[in-house]
Every structure is written in C-alpha cells, then in structure tokens.
C-alpha cells in the first residue's frame, strides 16, 4: 500500500471523482496579491517595532523576550502565508517541522549545556 492509498483510506487526503488523491497543497486556493501586500506591511511594521524596542532601553530580559516573540511572529507569517504551509498538504509541514524541531533541540541543548546565553 502506498502512502497515498493509506492516506486516502484513513481520510487524511481528499480524493477526486476518479478516486485519485487530490493534491491538497492546492485544494484550498492560495491568498491573493492584496493579502500578500497586507502581510508584507505587517512584516515591515513589526521589523520597525523590533528596531524601536532595541533603542527604547528595556531591561535585557524584557528586550530578549520581546524580540524573540516578535521574531517568532514574523517567522510564522512568512512560513504560513508566503510559503503556504497554512494552505498546503500537512506532509510538507511535517518535513519542515522535523528539521526545525531537531534544530531547536540542538540549539537548546548546546546553549544550555556548553554555556551560551541569550539572557
């Protein structure tokens, strides 16, 4: 049994009238140009906020937390909308998340055990 057949049987993947797995990467239409421009504007504003926060003079801990939250927000916007993971097949998300989470584990273990620090 192929993965496509398994996913079809388990109801993971929608099927078309001929019984073929539909590429759910495009089952839901991607956003339009206007929405992309809106997302881009949000990204630009958040970047400006990041730079402003850098100069405001927050405590180091508050600065680090604020910048990481804003950075994660920008990261998510690009991955979900521009790279279409919000709309594409979950298999693509899985491939990316495996690498991303492994990297996060390596990053956390390395910085917490060897002595690097953010805060």
């Amino acid at each position: 049994m192929t993965l496509a057949e398994y996913r079809k049987r388990e109801g993971i993947e929608p099927v078309d009238g001929a019984g073929h797995a539909v590429d759910s990467a495009h089952a839901e239409k991607h956003p339009g140009a206007l929405e992309y421009v809106q997302i881009g504007s949000i990204l630009a504003i958040v970047t400006a906020i990041e730079v402003a926060i850098y100069y405001v003079g927050l405590s180091h801990t508050a600065l680090v937390l604020a910048l990481i939250v804003l950075s994660a927000f920008k990261f998510s916007l690009v991955v979900l909308w521009f790279m279409h993971l919000k709309f594409d097949d979950r298999l693509f998300s899985t491939m990316f998340l495996i690498g991303f989470l492994l990297a996060l584990v390596i990053f956390t273990v390395a910085t917490s055990t060897i002595g690097g620090k953010l805060v």
């Binding site: 192929t2 993965l3 496509a4 996913r7 079809k8 993947e13 073929h20 797995a21 539909v22 590429d23 990467a25 495009h26 089952a27 239409k29 991607h30 956003p31 339009g32 140009a33 992309y36 421009v37 997302i39 881009g40 990204l43 630009a44 970047t47 990041e50 730079v51 850098y54 600065l63 680090v64 910048l67 990481i68 804003l70 950075s71 920008k74 990261f75 690009v78 991955v79 521009f82 790279m83 097949d89 298999l91 693509f92 491939m95 990316f96 495996i98 690498g99 991303f100 492994l102 990297a103 996060l104 390596i106 990053f107 390395a110 910085t111 060897i114 690097g116 620090k117 953010l118 805060v119």
Partner: protein, 199 residues
C-alpha cells in the same frame, strides 16, 4: 483543467503530493539543522573572545535594519511573482522576479559593505571567536542569498524566452520556497545576532 494540474503538479505519486515540492521541503528541513547549528555555535562563542573587536564595537544596527527590511520586502515581491504566474500573468512574473533579484543583489551588496567595514575595524575570520563564528554564519547565509539570486535570474531569463507558463508555475514556487527560507533565516539572525547582544 484542475488548479493542481494547471500548476504543473503530478499527483500520481506514492505520497499523493508532488515529489519535487516534497523534496524541497525536506531540503529546507535539513537546512534548519545547518543554520541552527551555526547560530548555536555563534551564541556559544561570541562572548568568549579574549581580544576585540567585540559585537558592540562593530555592529551598525540602523544599516543592518535596512538590509533586513530589503530582504523582507524581497519575500513580498517573490510571492507576488508566484501569484502572477499562477494567474497566467507572465509580465507580472517578469516584473516581480526581477524586482526580487535586484533586492537580493542589494542585500548582498550591503553585506559585502558590512564585511569590508568590519575588516577595516580589525575584525577578520581569524581575529577572535566572535569574528570566526560571525563570518561563518553570515557568510553562509550570504552564499545562500547569492545562489537564490542566480536561481531567480535563471528563471527570469527562461521566462523572457516564454518558457515559464501557468502550467510550469511549480518552478517559480520551488524557487520561492528557497527564497523565503533564506528570508526566515535572516529574521532569526537579525534578532539573535544583531539585536540581542551579550548583557
């Protein structure tokens, strides 16, 4: 013709999704490990230098903020290029692809200028641990941007010959995925390397 078929996606695969796109995501997942390791190495060693210059001596935040903004906007133009060709608008594809490539070149030029300034201020790959980890991390990112620009220009040249059509929009989508990934890596580098400095 279905949207998926129009987008040039072959659905007769064992996974039910296009193998080329799946491979690109697998590659990007592996790139997370690559850059994650380089960023971790930078954070581990940046404040263990015994001689200067140190990050606070050389970083020019306003300049780097403009570079970050340029790369961010290149992601917008890239996704507009994809949106254009998915609607069959080849002129729009050409305009936005070229814009993206130009913004990429601007970013690389800014990085070359920054590296040159750092060198004049005495920071080289061999000066200290900060210099070594910083240049390796940002240098590899710059190399990725350069490869991205070459990919964009090759697609642009192919498009000018009329060979990129709505049915072949997947090639633009794959290039876009790579370009957006380079952008998100810079989002992380800009925050962790430039804005968050040792206390």
């Amino acid at each position: 013709m279905s949207y998926a078929a129009a987008a040039g996606h072959s659905l007769e695969t064992s996974t039910g999704v296009d193998n080329r796109k799946l491979l690109m995501w697998l590659f990007l997942g592996s790139e997370c490990l690559f850059f994650g390791s380089l960023i971790a190495a930078y954070l581990l060693y940046r404040d263990r230098s015994t001689v200067g210059p140190y990050p606070e001596d050389v970083f020019d935040i306003p300049f780097t903020s403009v570079s970050a903004f340029i790369l961010l906007m290149s992601s917008v133009s890239m996704v507009l290029a994809l949106a254009a060709i998915q609607k069959g608008d080849r002129r729009g594809l050409n305009v936005w692809l070229f814009t993206t490539a130009i913004l990429g070149v601007l970013f690389i030029s800014g990085q070359a200028f920054e590296f040159t300034e750092f060198y004049r201020e005495g920071l080289t790959l061999e000066t200290n641990l900060f210099g070594t980890t910083f240049f390796v991390l940002t240098g590899f990112h710059g190399a990725h941007v350069t490869v991205g620009v070459l990919i964009l220009l090759s697609i642009f040249a192919t498009s000018l010959q009329g060979k990129i059509t709505q049915e072949k929009s997947l090639y633009v989508e794959l290039a876009g995925l790579y370009w957006h990934f380079v952008d998100i890596v810079w989002i992380v580098i800009f925050t962790l390397v430039y804005l968050i400095q040792p206390s």
